[in-house]
Symmetry: C3
Subunit: 648 residues, 3 copies
């Protein structure tokens, strides 16, 4: 695994560049990402290009032995372009234009902007496509950041009608698929279809789902245009895009398929603060992040990448600026996050950013260097990580030589679109069902891969569908031939591809592997539970008609888990102790050697190596069950400590 860094030469005097480059190299960094926000410097006026500074910057970096990852600048079109095409911006759900003044001020459906994005991409690629320093491209930056996938512009409406016409062919087919007879919502032509926002009350969920699919497809097509240009003009270079955390507005499986590599931007402390973690977690892990935040995304994006190639292109190196509260990482965490990515198979961890900016929106975002150029705490940890990586690689074991397959989670992006459109209970989210299920598997010390429906499942001992409302064609058949253990979570198979209820009710196609019908589903307020033996039914309860075994039954007779042959059905929300019990039973039945880990410790097996990470702020010992030769660290892991064992 390599180390990299994000750098903005345009922010600093040219005189500093060479020293910066040398300093990077000395730290153990070999990759540097540049250029992704530099449009106004590259093309300060329409058609007038100023390449000089960028030529120089690439040359300086190259001279220091750094490989350049070059970003196309389409996330930040300059003001002159917006003034030329004021309708190129996105429109929010309330109908307001989302104007210039920050970034991502464009609508994916705007034909004029698509053309301009192609033009500037081509200009970049023509200039640097064959430059020896350039080894990889990044398209745009963080598609969807600041909720920008979905736009309610006129351009989007027109494009949506075309998309619908392509998908449904006839308006009668659309009316029938969506059930538009309900509430007299029937259309006479595709030209009558508007976007689903600003209806008096909720629009048809099928309308929303189609609009979400369309919006995701627009992102993929926008990206595709750049990929095609780059592949043509910059042969032999990889193309990647940087994904975000807990973000689902476009289908990353679709995007990943057209990329060489999927990277993501890892900000564990910001994510802990901003997403739906408990107050206790937000307190206990305030300077570490919840122990599954980074790993969940590593395992998710590895599954999105065409050939499993992935990395972290932006790694938090200190406090950030964008969360409600922005604490500093516990000493050691930057190193821990870096090595954890290695354990999960990353090819790159690149820190964001080299040097903290003096100005503008991100001036409070830490870099490896302080704004005055002195070392920030992250820098030393990056250097230490570099040495650690060398030590691990020098142990004779390449982490990814032999992937250790244990559990696979099957996740689809449209699962989250379904639950976001129709939560049916407060805050219910398929994405988070996947996360909470993942957590329980990882607490057992299991390796988990998060994969798209249709992925080859051979080699796995167990498969988990934490919440998969729409079951893709062929998946039930595939699972029927899977001999390991299967856990099906609530709401799985409860919707057709067009967001209706299957004729045979839930579990829909999954009835092929589990003999049950969901006769009724209910969502439960926080505080309403059905207690079992050390576990509880919370948030959701599917009532089944089934002859399957009632494996977990609450004190008042509610069934939390049903079992039939090698399949379990988790009828309540897959979280907390109830999911822990179900996961442990399935792992046992699957013959997996679960190693229950101390609170906040995580294990990742890579080839013959076992990586252990202590997310707690106190020391903790590695469980006795784990033995091997110490490659790195000690059996007593300090706060933010790491150990690597080699199986002998």
């Amino acid at each position: 695994m390599r180390l990299g860094v994000c750098y903005y030469p345009e922010h600093w005097p040219q005189a500093n560049w060479a020293a910066d480059a040398r300093h990077m190299a000395e730290t153990g960094i070999t990759r540097v990402r540049i250029g992704e926000f530099a449009w106004s410097r590259v093309e300060p006026e329409p058609g007038r290009f100023d390449w000089g500074w960028l030529d120089k910057a690439i040359e300086v970096l190259h001279d220091a032995g750094l490989g350049v990852i070059l970003g196309t600048p389409t996330a930040t079109p300059p003001k002159w372009l917006v003034d030329q095409m004021p309708d190129m911006v996105a429109v929010d759900e309330q109908g307001r234009k989302r104007g210039f003044g920050s970034r991502r001020h464009y609508c994916f459906s705007h034909p004029g902007y698509r053309e301009q994005a192609g033009r500037i991409t081509r200009a970049y690629a023509e200039r640097y496509g064959n430059h020896p320093a350039v080894i990889m491209w990044q398209t745009d930056n963080e598609y969807g950041c600041h909720d920008t996938v979905i736009s309610y512009s006129d351009a989007a409406r027109l494009a949506f009608r075309d998309w619908l016409s392509d998908r449904y062919k006839t308006i009668d087919a659309l009316n029938s698929a969506w059930g538009n007879v309900f509430w007299s919502m029937e259309y006479r032509s595709f030209d009558e279809v508007d976007l689903p926002n600003l209806a008096v009350t909720e629009a048809n969920p099928a309308h929303w789902l189609a609009f979400r699919r369309f919006s995701s497809d627009q992102v993929v097509a926008f990206d595709r245009a750049q990929v095609d240009i780059l592949r043509q003009l910059s042969p032999g270079r990889d193309v990647m895009h940087n994904a975000m955390g807990f973000y689902t507005d476009y289908d990353h499986h679709d995007l990943g398929r057209q990329l060489d590599c999927v990277m993501w931007d890892s900000y564990p402390l910001g994510f802990l603060e901003m997403f739906r973690f408990s107050d206790a977690d937000k307190r206990d892990y305030v300077r570490q992040g919840h122990p599954d935040i980074a790993a969940f995304h590593h395992d998710l994006y590895r599954g999105c990448a065409a050939d499993g190639r992935w990395g972290v292109i932006e790694q938090q190196p200190g406090p950030v600026n964008w969360a409600r509260n922005n604490p500093a990482p516990l000493p050691g965490m930057v190193r821990l996050w870096t090595l954890e990515a290695m354990a999960h198979g990353a090819e790159l961890v690149s820190y964001f950013r080299w040097r903290q900016a003096l100005f503008a929106q991100e001036q409070m975002h830490a870099g490896l260097l302080r704004p005055d150029g002195k070392a920030a705490p992250g820098l030393g940890e990056a250097a230490q990580a570099s040495a650690d990586i060398a030590a691990i690689q020098g142990s004779g074991e390449l982490p990814n030589a032999e992937p250790v397959k244990e559990a696979a989670i099957i996740f689809s992006y449209e699962s989250e679109w379904v639950t976001a459109t129709q939560p049916q209970g407060e805050d219910l989210s398929a994405l988070w069902a996947n996360f909470t299920a993942y957590t329980q598997l990882r607490k057992l010390g299991l390796n988990v891969d998060i994969v798209a429906p249709g992925t080859d499942l051979s080699g796995y001992a167990m498969v988990v569908l934490p919440c998969l409302p729409i079951v893709a064609d062929g998946l039930a058949e595939q699972l029927a031939s899977f001999s390991g253990q299967i856990i099906i979570g609530p709401r799985s198979g409860s919707k057709t591809a067009e967001f209706s209820i299957p004729d045979n009710l839930a579990l829909g196609p999954l009835q092929a592997i589990f003999p049950a019908q969901v006769s009724r589903s209910e969502s439960l307020r926080a505080g309403v539970t059905h207690q079992g033996d050390g576990w509880a039914i919370t948030r959701w309860l599917d009532h089944l008609e089934s002859d399957a075994e009632r494996e977990l039954v609450s004190d008042d007779g509610m069934v939390a888990c049903w079992k039939s042959a090698n399949v379990r059905y988790c009828a309540t929300w897959p979280e907390g102790e109830v999911m822990a019990v179900i996961a442990a039973r399935a792992a046992h039945d699957a013959g997996l050697a679960a190693v229950p880990l101390p609170e906040g410790m995580r294990l990742r097996k890579a080839g013959k190596l076992s990586f252990l990470f202590n997310y707690r702020a106190e020391s903790q010992a590695i469980p006795e069950a784990l033995q091997g030769q110490m490659v790195l660290g000690d059996r007593l892991l300090p706060a933010a400590g790491i150990a690597v064992l080699r199986t002998v």
Copy 2:
């Protein structure tokens, strides 16, 4: 009392209709509501009508012996109509058009839509007005659902100016009535008056009150046009409309006056979750609903109906789809709700819906049947209720033969408009003051009627005005001649009809029956209380200048209740223990035999019958004070249990 069901033949294959109709009849159902959302099927293109399917559906239902309640489809105008008149939609308080894509996408003030609504109503009535199956009409559906009474459209502004001109005659009269000299808000003509939204800060409360009265009048006029057409073209049939729960944006007394019957849509579990009940109530009654939700509306809408004819046209039969959380009713609750409506005098309880839809917005809303056509749990309870009704009716006592009059609550819709416009304390609401006062009366086992000001009070032993800021002309005189006990709640008589302070201060006209002036009012934060002996002053405190007796005084000298002759003044918010004490004293003085009921048990007396309902999830015994011959059930009521006693 009859049972009915809501049915959407247009959602199901025609081949199923006859079996559905037979199944309804076998369940004990004799009424079926159809057609209210079917405009796009009846008139798929402008002026082209397709009656065939509806003719057939009515015929099939008729053949099964079911009486049809036919809804006019004006709540769901088709897309082609909206495209013809894009300004027919309502505009929200922020100025956004409330577009097509769900339902109720029209503004009550739009002249073009009024004409179209008349046209389609006439078409329905001409086709089916004399059909022997059609025994009742429903106008539109749930006026005001999704906050649609109030529209800030241009059409509304123009209509409001006309309405103001009618009411005030001269602009000087308006300026004077509203006190527009304040803040230089004076107008020179009615054409200068805008709607009260989007002012820099709160607009004049008199402006708001006028706009609310206008908005309510627009609903009544819109409905009136349909009623007139239906009366003309469908002689001998009843006309009703379906009201909602805890909803006050139009004056239901005004609407009820022009209808034959007022029906309402009863969703106790959804209402518990979505309205202002305590967390404890939301937990304890999660699968039952608060024990006063249904009864409060029964007693309220009975008082709205011209001749006291009312019913439940939509009864929750299982989990719904629209609340934050959607639990399933406790077994027995569907039956309990049904029989409770009977106890309160309903002529119909109709379940919503026959069969759960496979598609669109309400696919997660339970029916009596599951989407696959099998029985959902509600169906058996409906059938049981049908048998129970027969048993009760067979006991020789008709529940409504001899109404048992005990307490009357006087409520006006404009009371809520006043407190919503000027809460003066957090969440203070006249409607909820009425509800909490109602609860305390019902816990004493009293029968309560909720009536409009001006209703004949003879026969009642006590009258309660929980919060009546505007006292209608003549009411004080009427109360002066009332010999029973009277309780006046806070803020009553505190406003003139034009939302100013009476010259003689509060209690305004009520000073005729209670010798006091409110010299100062204050609202109190949650947690700020004045404790009395087992009760507390909360939320509100009127300070009185009065020689009346200080009946309830807090430990620190604040007066919670004053008494003079047969009138009590509750100076604090009429809720909890303080209202319980006041209600009990008044009931005692009125000679009513109060029967304090166990928590969650309710009693309704109907002729010689006493109905008891146990809303708790545990068994509870009927209090010893209640004796009689068991017509139904047992003295130990199980969870969700019912008993009926006959006085001997």
Copy 3:
């Protein structure tokens, strides 16, 4: 100190005026403010003036010996003017026009309205500028009330571009100052600059800061036009404006500089309820207000006034109408608030309002009289205060003869603009850092002045900068020559004047007096603390590189307070016990005789007089350390009690 009252003769029959005036005089009132909302009565139609009623009102007041404070009516332009210039209204951040119907419906940048405001001001001044009754003018009313300083109108955009051009001269200078190279935000001309709202995500903080400075300048310029007219046409009269509480959208130091006197509107109970006080404070001080609310503003606005002349032009006399909850003051509080203003040096306390209005928006706002003209509780307290003032003044000591200087807080309005734009931690606010620091100083019994940067500091024993991100030119040098104790709070010196990070990092220019660099800052969630000995680090932590003494170190090694020579650096949020400890140490080192006061008691020293105020609802004794001759009250202060001691 004089007493005054706000009066609206236009709301009451002319026949009442003389009696009202006599009643005021009898109460001890000598000043009356009128006219500030009367435009529609003075100019009922464009160009047609009706002065008769106002002539008469002034005459009647004059005849009773009352001095008139006359308000220009520009806060409430009449409807006919808005209809003439519909674009004169402000536009909110979401792009919505803020229309007619209440008050303050104008944009400060609208040239047409500026002209009209000059015209009506000139008309008032020409009519009454030399009237013997008129002794003071108020410009407009509460600039900024209802968030009206900042407008996103077209007029504002155009004026902003001009303002930018004046400030930066060239667009390159602006791009450079703001760091617009970041995210390609560079402009090619001032005409490309838009307002910072409605960007996709946060706009550049430098953009926001410039826009806030511009918006403040527009208020000052708008006011200046009126001041100039009034000075020209009404020689010898004072001009003042009424500021609000906890309000910072315009720079009150700038405004105060052009006025003769700064007044403010004091509503302690409303402010307690609406601003960020703890639930415990909101409960314990529900009828008193937090004990520092009034005094903080007295000390703040005294520092804004050109010659230190200030007063309270609107004093809460009972419950108000505009807070979430509106309790009544504890008996005695109106008197206490009045005398506390005297202790802090006010020249006037004027109650709002004389008589509670019968109608419109403020009908629930108490006056000294009830709406029916009888005395409300406030009236007696005002009369008592009048007698108390006479007694104190008769003691031979004029409170303000010899100001007692102890501690000075340095506050700038742009501090709050910086933290509001970039809080970096939840709810972090420079204004509230100043308030919480102020509280800890006052609990020690210290006199505090709140002054603008640049104020002469001679005579003070200590200076506190609770949170001063931008350090004005010259301030560091001034502090370097200050020999008393200095406390610097977090984030001070962390920003340049253009909202970037200083090249030498924080403390920027303050490094001249404190040898440290902030190497990293972090914000901490509520509940994340570092405990020290009786104090805790909360919300914020600056990590310093410094050889200074680590004065307060938490149990886990974090430094809360650093000390070097006469300067302390508070590295955590300046609130609660940690600020109490730091303030006490600094006061000790400064040689100040701190007198720790009982909870809720406050002390203000004025010449030889010591005023003591008991904000608790229970009696409390004056600390033994305070001795002197009793001028007023007793050593045991009752609830809401006051005592005045004279040093012997």
